[in-house]
Amino acid sequence: MVDGNSAKETGKEGLTRRRFTLGMLIASIAGAFGSLFALLKVLAPEKKGGGYATTILPGDVLVYAQGGSAGSPVTASSMKAGDAVLAYPTGKSSNPANLVQLIKLEEAAFKPPTDISLTDKGFVAYSAICTHLGCTVSWMANRESPAASFTECFCHNSIFNPAEGAKVMGGPAPIPLAQIGVKVMQDGTLAFTSDFKGPIGPQV
């Protein structure tokens, strides 16, 4: 009752001890959360040596990305129709966005939307980073009929058709793998001729 009376009295006067304390409380909570926002910004750095920014330049030679000959140039003669390897531009293997899958098919096998001008003697290259959740794609070679070979991501079984611009044939990947231009050089090695013709990695 006493409280009720004092509340009535204070209604006339405006500022009371209770309202002042309440205001203090709200202000301090707001202040505390405000400073927390600054902290959260600090804890989520914009960039720390990651992400998918490619650094491939035309003329970069393709080198094996893995296996015993990792780092040495891929030669055109080492691959026949239906083969594929993972490759990096030479000296730029520290950037995972630069990883490509170099595929050799029959020259007549390509259909739109493959950009034929970016292929050479049956060689075609696509980004090897799956557009679903960023795993590296694998080559499902078909020895009996090389044309039936395809690219698959083993993480969630997205399937891409290398003869049709890495079109999504199945699985959860939302967009094709980006094509990049390659050509066979005079010394039998392969070099890039362009940048990626589309976005790399997960589209999130």
């Binding site: 679903h132 199945g170 959860p172 939302p174 999130v204």
Partner: protein, 417 residues
Amino acid sequence: MVFKWLDERLELRKFKEKFLSKTFPTHPTFLLGETALFSFITLVATGIFLGFLYEPSTTMVSLFGAMVPAAYASVVRIDLLPMGLIIRRIHHWSAMIMIAAILAHLLRVYFTASYRKPREINWLVGLSLWGTAMIGAFTGYLLPYSQFSVTATSIAYYMAKSMPWIGNWISRLLFAGDFPSDGTVPRFFFMHVMLIPATLIGLISLHMLILIKQKHTEPRSNRDRKEAQGGKRLIGIPIWPEQAVISLSFFLFLLFVVVLMAAYIPLNPIEMYGPPSPGTPVMRPDWYFLVVYGFLKLVPGDLVFTILGGKITPETIGGVIFPALNFLAYALVPFIDRSKEPQHYMANPLHRPFMTSLGVGAIVFLCMMAVAGYIDVLHITTKAMTVYALVATAAAWSVSYALLRWYNGKRGNNAKA
């Protein structure tokens, strides 16, 4: 002597009377929660051993002549220590058993309707424990920094990033920048050994406190005994010494089983996966993530749209919306199946056609999603798998509902006759 000295200062006798003589109802399924708790204790104990030897860094160091990340090298060295590999496997197996035990415990509580008033809060605390335990397990995936670690974490990074509106910020906060970043391993290490165990201890304490306050649900047979004897108190055994002896011997038995499994069943062979490399081999997550893993495979790739500037992709649907909806559905259970009066006895699932068939349907659905994780080896197309999953779920739900209705109809007739 020691007891007297302590008793004079801490009033141990009073504590014993008040707390240690609390009644613990007995039922075999009441050991499921304890299994989870004991697995957690084993995890902490083995985790302390591993924590002394692990190095949370991705700096490249030399290991037998090859350059590998320091984290990977330190785990290989742990494996080479006497008992090192077995401790690491006990740690990993305990995590799997803890999550399995929590799930079994949740199912027990679900089917016996022990979540009803007044125990709704503890149902939510239990669900949070389950989620936190899985996050804890997941942050542990990255630490050995093998090819498996990096692939699994990269997938989770893009799942977090696929959240509409806040995805970029959330993923940078959790993974310390864009993955793979040098900051990710130290941040995950901190979360795995500090933040998540602390959260788990807090939630477990809350779970236990609420349990002590509200008391255990009792088997139905206790009600008949009470009606016959006219008593009102809980029927069971006191915590000290009876329940303590049962719990201790159960803990030791569990430890024996886990050590046996760790000794003979290989798990997370990081030496076989190797350090991070460009290629991604076929790899599946631990069993409790198979549901999300399988569901991710079933979402069609062309399901992309925008709501209020937020981009929804197959990754968002499979990696964010689906798990969130699952947890939301589980959280809503005690608020859908409400009761006005407080309930203190386990329900018979056979007498509850609606809720029990719903649970059966949900279990079949989750199992089918786990099977979907294997469509590549089963050679089933995603469309066919989606149809199978929906048909199996609908069949399990409707058949179990019809059977239970029929059973209860028969029971009702018998009771009348």
